[in-house]
Symmetry: C2
Subunit: 366 residues, 2 copies
Amino acid sequence: MELLRVTYRLEGAPDDAEARAEAIAREHTVEVPRAVVRDAFIEREILGRVERVEPVDGAALATVAYPVATTAHDPAQLLNVLFGMSSLRDDVRCVDCEVPPSLLRALGGPRFGVAGLREATGVHGRALTCTAAKPMGHGPKALADLVRAFARAGLDVVKDDQGLADHPFCPFEDRVRACLAAVEEVADETGHRVLYAPNLIGTPDRVWRQLEFARKEGARAVMASPMLLGLPVFWELCRERSDVPVLAHPSFGGARAFATELLFGSLLRLYGADAVIFVGYAGRFGTPRATCRELADRLRRPWGGLAPSLPVPGGGVELENAAELVSFYGRDAMLLVGGSLQVEEGAVQARSRAFVEAVREASRGA
Amino acid sequence: MELLRVTYRLEGAPDDAEARAEAIAREHTVEVPRAVVRDAFIEREILGRVERVEPVDGAALATVAYPVATTAHDPAQLLNVLFGMSSLRDDVRCVDCEVPPSLLRALGGPRFGVAGLREATGVHGRALTCTAAKPMGHGPKALADLVRAFARAGLDVVKDDQGLADHPFCPFEDRVRACLAAVEEVADETGHRVLYAPNLIGTPDRVWRQLEFARKEGARAVMASPMLLGLPVFWELCRERSDVPVLAHPSFGGARAFATELLFGSLLRLYGADAVIFVGYAGRFGTPRATCRELADRLRRPWGGLAPSLPVPGGGVELENAAELVSFYGRDAMLLVGGSLQVEEGAVQARSRAFVEAVREASRGA
């Protein structure tokens, strides 16, 4: 059985590191209490296993081996297995992974890579040069003038600034056409054809349209910000859409540093979530009560004509605390209960019913 | 002029907080040294402005006002303005924002929200209940049996576990069909029609196909993990694709906690980047040299048959240190130089040329 080995750094005293690693191994695969894992196939071929835990300067490094089948060999599901839920913990970092052959084949890596960029630039045997067409605010003509100057100077690659989108003051199509014309002008003049990489940005629909336009106009490379567009989009761009090299920009690589209430309370609503699942105070993530309160308030309070979103606290919702949670969040909420309904074999329906009744009952008083 | 106001928490001594806030305001808009901002339009209508900086328990809160036009009213570009590059700093958190009316209208928020979920479940005046079909590893029949039990118990909503993808042991279409059949069976039997929300996961192409199938089979809600699929994808799903309510799952909300060398050195290559721009040791992000070394090595060394990616250090690349950088990264690298080429008015081409020559020269010795 092929294994995906992932190493986590667990901050804090290493005493309970083994147990924390076990929790991650479960969290990223079955995401139910150990007692729920009764099926032999699931235990053998799905559940992650802790292979090694070693102390390291006041923390611990834990290696978890996941059966590769858990990833479905899909670029999005892979992220769930690597770091889906434990990314939400402040004391865990995903520090390394060992990707088995079938997953390497499924994702496939660069289509062009170093060789393709060398071919596109004609640069061999030396380091390449690159700069950006910027700042935002320039119109197509001013940016094309910059590209012209960079090309004349012999830069190998000029990329758009990652903040150049489809702005009314500098529309994508006008910009790309103008910059590519500048490239050709200098090529005719000097023989040096700089590689210009337009920035693709937007929803998938918009990005595919931008790519199509850029290619039709003769762009020989493109750029995108994978963490901003979403890694699965980036993968589709690289492997299934683009027939020219793709540069990755690091923008938005650190979304974790969003405050919890901003990301889950405001941004997800702004982005259109009708209901927002979050990890509440009751559970294993230890979100402060005040944060949960603020988050739920933000999802529901009047905000510029936006419809309210339904708060869905999860992570630690149990039959036993359901009533308290209803009194905390009120009626405009949905309690998301997890594996605890399945803790008792053969009693799923009975426990579920009890949970349902507890919430109904508590809502009467809320 | 409409403003997008964003608040950042700056860790560490508040002495230089004002200057750090100014840097963020510039970073998220023009991303060039202040001296490069010479155009009156850019200074007035593009550049972010620090409105307030106040000390708060050993750190500082800074509010930056961005002209809303910088966002292009696009769901992806908005992330650049909010937190694109400063998300890469360990000492900055994006803690709040105030969204102006035109941006609220452009993104639009939930299409269904609380009212739509109440309508879909028939639940009014009380908190709703929800659980998950899980664990991963069950086949469609076992999951449908769970849904049946939850439905009979009167749960309002059953969502797929976020880790249920299109696994060979439990294909998406078989699972959704089986679970929806269970829903209808219980509805016929008891009159209670539980709201089952299948998990959509994958690249945009795959997600749209999953949505289409789920809707055709009668699903009346869906779920997705926005930070995992990418927030712009999630937005397109909510606003332009789905005609039923969408639940947001928090998985992968903390990608920042990836080690730098893993994310930029391994994952982006695995996902297909032909060239990877990262913030190197020379610059304002202070990535340790050892990290840069490891990252660049990972992009280029043999790895299961994947083509190597081109390392592109940026952030702090200057005419003055170009030679040293080439000697550090070697020839299979591309130096990304930024606004410093434009620092001296009227000398873009001359400075660019000098940079080009410096790299050519240094490459001979590398």
